[in-house]
Symmetry: C2
Subunit: 388 residues, 2 copies
Amino acid sequence: MRPAPFIPVIPAGGAGTRLWPLSRRARPKFLLDPTGTGRSLLQGTVARLAPLADRPALVVTGAGHADAVREQLAGGAVGGADVQVLVEPTPRNSMPAIALAAAHAEREDPGAVIGSFAADHLIADETAFARAVTLARAAAEQGLLVTLGITPTHPATGFGYIERSGTERAGGAGAALQEGVLPVTRFVEKPERERAEQFLATGRFLWNAGMFVVRASVLLDELTARIPALGTGAREIAAAHGSAEEQAVLDRVWPTLTSIAIDHALAEPMAAEGRVAVVPADLGWDDVGDFASLAQQLRSAVGAGAVPAVGTAAGDGDVRVVGSAQVDAVSSRATVYGATDRHIALVGLDGISIVDTDDVLLVLADEQAQELTEIVARLEGQGLGHLR
Amino acid sequence: MRPAPFIPVIPAGGAGTRLWPLSRRARPKFLLDPTGTGRSLLQGTVARLAPLADRPALVVTGAGHADAVREQLAGGAVGGADVQVLVEPTPRNSMPAIALAAAHAEREDPGAVIGSFAADHLIADETAFARAVTLARAAAEQGLLVTLGITPTHPATGFGYIERSGTERAGGAGAALQEGVLPVTRFVEKPERERAEQFLATGRFLWNAGMFVVRASVLLDELTARIPALGTGAREIAAAHGSAEEQAVLDRVWPTLTSIAIDHALAEPMAAEGRVAVVPADLGWDDVGDFASLAQQLRSAVGAGAVPAVGTAAGDGDVRVVGSAQVDAVSSRATVYGATDRHIALVGLDGISIVDTDDVLLVLADEQAQELTEIVARLEGQGLGHLR
């Protein structure tokens, strides 16, 4: 049997207000290079998937960001990787975006396996990632919905969890799985702290990083069986691709697609039926979810691209600088994102992130990074919507 | 006997690098209004002394700051108070500056009593200050060098101390003193922490705020006896005042004056001879010595002139804003000095000061405010001398 071609799908959406003012409405997280690696998170995602792909990756993004996405990925800008940009007329959550890409993939090759990966995450261990995707592809060819589950390092309350079966070969789908692939019992939404600790204690829970590998036709058939308008609608749009009616069909059908996340639409119900598998993986994954996680990244190997602070005396502190900012520090552990040419001086800081832009200055304690959303939510009411 | 006229002397000098970048070489602390009262520390000092003065105050400042000083005090700008600005060709510590002023005062009235007070301190209780100065004047008319001693509130290591006699009427000068005036045993330089605690435990030590009240002729005669060139030199410069040779005499004599502090030149040796008295006073005094002390001021009644942060939700933090900055904060206790029109967002800060200027951004933990001097000292070496 000819191996099914693999087509990466990259949903590039999300407001990403937790990295404001680094990220803005018009410049979301996936377009940024927050760790100073020399390429944006989107470009990094494309580059990571290119060696695994049999066809150009399908990047699904909003109308407002399509030009910026095309510009960042133009002409194989990232390691010669070609991509196709699919434009969502309006944001309708992850399922319609992935279904649209699946329908395009299916149209290119009815046997295609797609792998959907967020455009704005970091993965330190690309070899482990490639290995996990290869395992997932094989299981997907068996007709399963396969997810990559991140080995948890702490009882995080900001991620959903995937529970795998206790014994490797028990249960329906489990019987025929390769080593390294396990049946999924259920998906669990973000837990409270205590529950997260219980999850870790069992050794059976993994973080849900929203990575799904599945045959395009399986995804669309399942969807058509469960939410008919979504499955048929996505296929209808893809069928019109390249025709004179393409835009008209998109504009007519897209608003009728149910706005729903892939977890609720497919992953949870299929897991209940024993038709989901997981590849547990230790990838050095990070969703760069807020400034605390970003600061941690910049202190790890992944953040090695970041420029060290100038003038920071040895042993005098631990300051990471992203951007052109000139920083001098005394007794400080801090992260500076500097986009202006001002001299930045730090004294006695411990666990502080600073974003210095032309119109906004943010000073934030990493420990309370989650509370930034309150500030961003208040902007409109303060007549400062233009700063979003 | 006609009461001796009182002439305030205000030495306006000092680099004040501990409030950088709020203060700069060209804009020292005394020209600033760091607590947002509506007038500079210098203007506040002039205004505080005006009701007590029988002649215009003598402001002694460096050549580089004379224009700015004159501008701030022009035409009785401060409550109609007239001042005379004396210009030091080069900085030579406090004794030559005060001696020069004393010689000018003596020339105006041989019986004049001068009171010398730093240009860059805050005093919350002006009534207590006026009362203390009045007591000091009376003692000064008796030929004593009189200092105002600040009742210490904690074992500070950043100030010198004054030890008063244990019993009010013991000792040489003590015998004839008014109630509220006490003989001084000795002056002590900035102590270590443990020693400062011992000082406080005795109840006999006061902070030395550099406030001296003395008959001008006594000061100059004492000086002439101890450091002849200084006493006679100051009188020679003052004698030439208003003449065609004024500038020539100043330029010739000034460089010959010994560069020495009044504490070493007069206060310490005269105390050893029992010829110094102190008026203990609880003035709400603050030398605004660094950002920690400034932050504390802004949280006290004196800082009431400061504009509260906009958008700071009730109970959500305690943010003080000096300047026009627009600040929004979550869970923060911080002080912001904002001179740009950028939006400033704070999250989770505790005891942080932020100075936002066009060319420098400072973020400092108040607890380590003293370490700012390291940053300022490094500027020249980094080719950033223009930011001093």
